[in-house]
């Protein structure tokens, strides 16, 4: 059992966490044809946008209600209305993801009331779903905002789909993809699910929008991701797989709304967790098969092979990772996944710092975890062999003369954040090789 220490300082020095609205906007970006709209001052959007643009090296469509001092005092209704109408005119979005900020939450705008009265005045918006999420900046971190947005996405009513009769349509599974997953991770998960002959409904699907691909036209809304038509079919899924503990509440909402059973997979890197994910998919397929042909579930050959490749990689890399002292500062879901994987490889965890509360923090393979900042990491990481955190850790890693492996947000100084994959059998191998190579380079 891990003790969770909350930093007692009154000042965050070199903050590790980003704001919940940024996380919510990121989740919304995994839907197709959406523009995330921040209800706040224009800086709230500008900072989030700059961070995401620098991380993904992509144009990121984010909008603002551009609140001023006066409109804050009078209330934000006019600004929200004008922003929505402007977006509809300029970008013709399929969806709008509306999120609050510290400013408008402190003021206390009655968002449900405002949306209701805007809808009354503008019946032409009837066919435009507005997904609303409350994300005060002063409560939680990126992971919390992301999770809250996913909960809103699965709670929203998207109307009934235009009925298309489909022969042989594949059985559908909802995958709730937490904030620890990069676009490349999501792509890999989709591919695995599809290989089983299942249709994955990804909430959200960053692999279609911020994966880094060249489109034919200029986009003022997301060019890909889970579409409105797909969202209308949420109720048809056979099962929900929630990847990351922070996705559990959203899975529960789906169970309440549609009676869909769910399973939470708290991590998807390392041999055993990937095994259980693959096994889970096999069980779903198995349950679909005629019981008269009951046999042991079929696992696609490529994953049988990848599993053996991973086992080999574990053998090859354990020389380099075993006994290494590693210090990490990551958001809870990503921290949990990474710590356990390192532990499984025989590494020692010297220090762990995280951003926000989570039930997982009590179950880390270490004695203590600090909810704090990169100054805390700097104090705790002295003497480690490796530091794992985002690009903002470069300064402290240089100062302590310890190599840095970049994970989380933001990563400014590495290319390919849109396609990098560190989950599944293949992604786990990539992670082990990356770390092993760092130690080989250092001559350890």
């Amino acid at each position: 059992m891990t003790t969770v220490t909350k930093s007692k300082k009154s000042v965050a020095v070199n903050p590790l966490k980003q704001s919940p609205p940024l996380g919510a906007a990121l989740a919304f970006l995994g839907l197709k044809g959406i523009v995330p709209l921040f209800h706040g001052s224009q800086g709230c959007t500008a900072f989030a946008k700059v961070l995401l643009v620098r991380h993904f090296r992509e144009a990121i469509p984010l909008a603002t209600t551009a609140m001023t001092e006066v409109s804050t005092i009078l209330g934000g209704e006019d600004n929200i209305e004008q922003a929505i109408l402007t977006l509809v005119e300029k970008a013709q979005p399929d969806l709008i993801g509306l999120l609050t900020t510290g400013l408008t939450e402190t003021r206390g705008d009655d968002m449900n009331g405002i949306l209701k009265s805007i809808r009354q005045r503008h019946p032409e918006l009837d066919s435009l779903p507005i997904i609303f999420v409350s994300t005060p900046d002063y409560k939680g971190a990126l992971q919390d905002g992301f999770a809250a947005a996913v909960q809103s996405i699965v709670s929203t009513d998207y109307g009934t789909p235009v009925e298309t009769f489909q022969f042989n349509s594949l059985p559908q599974v909802t995958i709730l993809a937490g904030s620890q997953l990069s676009p490349g991770d999501v792509e890999e998960i989709k591919e695995i699910v599809e290989t089983f002959g299942l249709k994955p409904l990804m909430i959200p699907d960053l692999s279609g929008s911020v994966d880094g691909h060249l489109d034919d036209d200029y986009n003022s809304k997301t060019p890909g991701g889970t579409s409105l038509e797909q969202l209308q079919q949420l109720d048809r899924s056979l099962f929900t797989i929630a990847i990351g503990e922070s996705m559990r509440p959203a899975a529960e909402i789906l169970q309440q709304r549609f009676g869909t059973e769910y399973e939470v997979i708290p991590r998807l890197a390392g041999l055993a967790p990937v095994d259980s994910f693959i096994w889970q998919l096999a069980q779903i397929i198995d349950a679909q098969t005629d019981p008269r042909f009951l046999g042991s579930p079929q696992i696609p050959a490529r994953y049988k092979r990848q599993r053996r490749q991973l086992q080999d990689a574990i053998l090859d890399t354990h020389f380099y990772l075993g006994g290494k002292k590693i210090s990490l500062a990551l958001e809870p879901d990503l921290l949990y996944q990474t710590i356990w994987l390192l532990k499984d490889m025989g590494a020692e965890i010297q220090a762990a710092v995280t951003t926000t509360k989570s039930p997982l923090l009590k179950e880390l393979a270490i004695d203590n975890v600090t909810i704090g900042d990169l100054e805390d990491l700097e104090d705790l990481a002295v003497g480690s062999d490796l530091i794992i955190t985002n690009s903002q850790g470069k300064g402290l890693a240089d100062k302590l003369n310890i190599p840095l492996y970049r994970m989380g947000y933001p990563i400014y100084d590495r290319l390919g954040n849109g396609s990098r994959c560190l989950v599944g059998y293949r992604g786990t191998m990539q992670f082990l090789f990356d770390l092993g190579n760092i130690f080989i380079e250092l001559g350890h």
Binding site: A12, N14, G43, A48, V50, T72, L85, T106, P136
Partner: protein, 478 residues
């Protein structure tokens, strides 16, 4: 920050925006951001841009995590010494602080920063939330200044009071009220100047400072690129203020003239003409004959060197067409640099330009040039298409507008990675233009896949037609 003070800053008489006689004047300074369309930063962003380059100070943001957490460490200003400015400090306030007020937390935060990092000063920035709940920043800073015997400077720039530009000016007010005039330099010379509004992005300052040194002009205070807190304290002893990127901190120039009788001039470091003019104007204002002579000698030397260095680039860049999309001063200063290289600016933005800027633009642009009064990504792409421009030169925000449209791009704003100021900067700029325009990648990213060519598309259409008709059509086509 009181309302009348903000109104004063918006009506800054030194700003050309306010010299327009027609109706709807002051537009650029006071225009409000449009919900749903606005893409710019806030006043807090502007204040940070202007002050964070002070390298040895700590910059403490009093607000929720968004303001500092999403932005710290991302500024492009370089330092030749201290690195304290690169750290992120924030009170990271919680719901409790909002209910009970954040002043105590702020006071403790200041104490902790000083105890561990001993900065010569702490700049404390208010944000929307802490302004809204009524935290008294000035009072906390005053108490802390006394207690810790360190200047703790309030910067009242909550995001919701206005644009980035206003934030720059609010930052200038903090420097005027709390920093400038609080110390004396070791010695002064008749050739002391301040550079105001130059932030040493990508180390640009370092391309210019050697020139000043060579001709015998001493830069007393850099406000604020690569500055120490101390040097800004004695800025009031300079003989001349040279405003670079002139409008951002114009209030500093004007008020220092009022308070200390220091005249100011507005200059640019981009391109041969502007750099020459800058050196000559400074010599004119503060110099004797000997200084003027040295300036002429240096200009002649630099131009001779430059002509040799630029010759190969000029040949390769001649008549290449660019669309320029940037703010205020840069819309003409970069234009003159491009023309030094023989390139053509076919369109430029006038969105944030003053009447004076616009007059300069008109002269440089010629009669066929397009002035973009407003521009979103689609508008920029439309103009590029219409003018058949070879590249887009703009701020980082438009980088992906150009790249996704498979058009060469050069970043000219805050986030840029190469220094373009001064004579050496022009060589750098020429290199970058050349690299961008003549890269072998453009052909590849524009190349359709074999199955995307017109011919294959036609075959695709014919896929479902009966085979006899299909072969007829194919025959007819060939």
């Amino acid at each position: 920050m009181t309302k009348p003070k903000i109104a004063d800053l918006l009506n800054e008489p030194g700003c050309e925006h306010n010299h327009k006689k027609e109706k709807g004047k002051n537009k650029a300074c006071t225009q409000q951001a449009k919900p749903g369309a606005a893409q710019g930063g806030c006043a807090f962003d502007g204040a940070s841009i202007a002050l964070v380059p002070i390298t040895d100070a700590a910059h403490l943001v009093h607000g929720p995590i968004a303001c500092a957490g999403n932005s710290w460490g991302s500024r492009g200003s370089l330092s030749s010494g201290a690195t304290t400015y690169k750290m992120g400090f924030t009170t990271d306030i919680s719901e409790n602080d909002i209910v009970f007020g954040g002043e105590k937390r702020l006071y403790k935060a200041i104490a902790q920063v000083i105890k561990r990092y001993h900065p010569p000063a702490v700049f404390v920035y208010s944000t929307c939330v802490t302004a809204l709940i009524g935290d008294d920043l000035d009072a906390v800073c005053e108490a802390a200044t006394k207690k810790f015997a360190t200047p703790i400077i309030p910067v009242n720039s909550p995001g919701f009071v206005g644009s980035k530009n206003l934030g720059n000016r609010l930052a200038g007010e903090s420097l005027l009220d709390y920093v400038v005039g609080t110390a004396e330099p070791e010695y002064t010379t008749p050739y002391d100047i301040n550079l105001i509004g130059e932030y040493n992005i990508a180390g640009e300052l370092w391309g210019v400072l050697p020139l000043f040194e060579k001709v015998g002009i001493r830069v007393l205070s850099k406000i604020t690129g690569d500055a120490t807190f101390e040097e800004i304290r004695y800025a009031h002893r300079a003989k001349l203020n040279v405003m670079i990127c002139s409008k951002a901190l114009i209030n500093m120039g004007r008020k220092m003239e009022e308070r200390y009788g220091i005249p100011y001039i507005e200059e640019s470091f981009y391109g041969v003409e502007d750099m020459n003019r800058c050196l000559r104007n400074i010599a004119q204002k503060i110099g004797d004959e000997a200084l003027k002579q040295r300036v002429e000698t240096v200009i002649a030397e630099e131009i001779a060197k430059l002509d040799i260095a630029l010759a190969p680039y000029r040949a390769r860049l001649k008549d290449k067409k660019m669309v320029l999309y940037t703010g205020g001063v840069k819309s003409w200063s970069v234009m003159s640099a491009a023309q030094d290289l023989g390139m053509k600016v076919v369109a430029t933005s006038t969105k944030k330009s003053t009447e004076e800027d616009k007059a300069k633009i008109k002269k440089l642009l010629g009669k066929d040039g397009i002035q973009l009064a407003k521009g979103n990504a689609q508008e920029i792409l439309r103009v590029i298409k219409k003018t058949q421009a070879d590249m887009l030169v703009a701020g980082g925000r438009n980088q992906y507008t150009a790249l996704k449209a498979r058009i060469p791009f050069l970043d000219i704003n805050q986030e840029r990675h190469n220094p373009y100021a001064g004579y050496v900067g022009l060589i750098e700029m020429a290199k970058e233009f050349d690299r961008a325009l003549h890269s072998p990648i453009w052909q590849q990213v524009r190349q359709p896949a074999p199955w995307e060519t017109e011919e294959s598309q036609e075959l695709e259409v014919l896929k479902d037609t009966p085979s006899d008709i299909r072969s007829q059509k194919l025959e007819a086509r060939s």
